[in-house]
Point group: C2
Chain length 343, copies 2
Amino acid sequence: MNIKTLSKLAGVSISTVSKVINGYADISEETRKRVQQVMQEHAYIPANSTKSSATNRSGLIGVVFAGKQNIDFSHSFFNEIMNTFKSQMGILGYDLVFFSNEKFQQSGETYLARCRHLQIEGCIILSGQDVEESVHELDQSPVPCIGIDLVLAGQNSSHILSDSHNNITKVVEHFYLLGYRELGYIGSNRDSEISSIREQGFRNAMQSYGLTIQEEWFAHGQDFYEESGYRAAKAMVERGSLPRAIFAGSDLLAIGAMRAFKKEAGCRIPEDIAIIGCDDIDACKYTSPPITTVAQNKAKIGRLAAMMLNDLIHNQMQTSSVTVETELIIRESCGSQIARIGL
Amino acid sequence: MNIKTLSKLAGVSISTVSKVINGYADISEETRKRVQQVMQEHAYIPANSTKSSATNRSGLIGVVFAGKQNIDFSHSFFNEIMNTFKSQMGILGYDLVFFSNEKFQQSGETYLARCRHLQIEGCIILSGQDVEESVHELDQSPVPCIGIDLVLAGQNSSHILSDSHNNITKVVEHFYLLGYRELGYIGSNRDSEISSIREQGFRNAMQSYGLTIQEEWFAHGQDFYEESGYRAAKAMVERGSLPRAIFAGSDLLAIGAMRAFKKEAGCRIPEDIAIIGCDDIDACKYTSPPITTVAQNKAKIGRLAAMMLNDLIHNQMQTSSVTVETELIIRESCGSQIARIGL
DNA sequence: CTGAAAGCGCTTACAG
DNA sequence: CTGAAAGCGCTTACAG
């Protein structure tokens, strides 16, 4: 159904239909009613107007979740960044398009083609594992892009990295200042890039603090979830030797490990074993005890991404690479700083 | 910058530029290079093609969060529905547009105008408080809509409701079967519609079970968050009289209340006081003890919404109203069913 | 109040 | 391999 066919059905000219659609005042009430009636009957929705093509402003920002996995709105890192990103872009007058990557996997469609088709003005690209070729094409294209935890090299791309080197050092420093010297690590499976980076950073920081690494206190689960943390910690308990403090590669691993240490070894947290998690998910606030964790400033990352993208779109910025510091959120799973320093 | 100007800059015809853009094969490598070069330099992005207008398929679904608040990706009800909705729509070949309502508040723009402009094929509308006029206009329009917890009356609209009557009855039934007779409620502020519905449902269910309502065991916080639960429970402790079981209007209220009962009254959960929350947020699994809660089947709602919307778009369905049952997720905050039944 | 006509930015058979 | 020309669905001054 197009405007031409519809105008014939309504017995008026194309111009008149167009005016009804756009709410022009100079149309008689009778004509307006009739045209609207016919539009209703045929469920007619006008195609994208040339007007918008002319202004060349779609008001649309693309959201790309790079990698094989699909966007998961439940993922707290993702959704907290999107919260501030979306409200900031909203204030600037943009709506957000979330690309479905189910489609890209089947047909040969590319992100760039989608962006052009929809006249997307800029994209935010969130990093996952196994970034597709289509993302690189987008990076190299004229479409302004912001990468989150993803290095982008294109002429119209900038990126934001979280400072994972600095963050792990803080964990070891915190343990060290509280008097803990026997440190262990519980991570996801060894194939996970994020877990490996965190583990390597932890080992490096331990070495620079002159602490001895005991391999039996380094354990790995299947994934980042609670059950993996439980099993890894339980295995450590069964091996008969426990460190005084554990850094976990995710908060859920920390929660699972805590459950195992309590249940399988009767440990008190933090008196017998201290724990630090990573990610700062909500649940850490409500466990007993609440868990100290490494947090990324997701609200800041989202807001920064919005500002940088807007500047890129309006050519007010050179491409750039920004690093956002992480923070150690101190709760109760390592004991009081003051109390322990007395040791 | 349009295709005409660009073709002049590149010294070729409009047709040739168009072919380069669309990756046609019959262009010499040299010409292709030059055109791409010029496109890069001028950051040219083609406007929406007429081709897409012709096919009349944008492949776009609109997401509207009705009401004054903005979409909050951290909200677990919202984001878990969107998870399944998005992946289902993705399989069907659609991308999602999240409308920013910051904009609607300022300018006179309407959702319908945005939908038309972008040729949105259908919308999902998530209910909030104070639904705007613009949402009703969209409901009444030819754009197919699915309302979530929002009754839609339009000729091309269906909706999905969660069964809040049934859900509260289950709470009282569960308490009753475990032998608890002295029941209390902790809710959000009295102005909150959701909290009021839950409270009224709870009172009704208590009456139908012949239980006496004691007003001193009905308390209210400022909002749905943990601190409000803590304060409301603490106030109850200070008044000197506690029920044997508490239903909280949200999980965070339940978590806060639990903290207060433990800390301010030395209560054990569930031995001294049993608790049921509402919403089934992740944190409930990791508290001590894990909290029994009323869950909506969010995955099912999301998938249903996607299927119903797709059917509506393809005219394969009458408009309809579907109710999804809620479920009581039994964990440890009310004690073992078997143990208590012995009472 | 209505509509014929010129225009928007783009695509696509078709001729060379 | 390239481009002139007809076409897409729509908007908008302008004449009546």
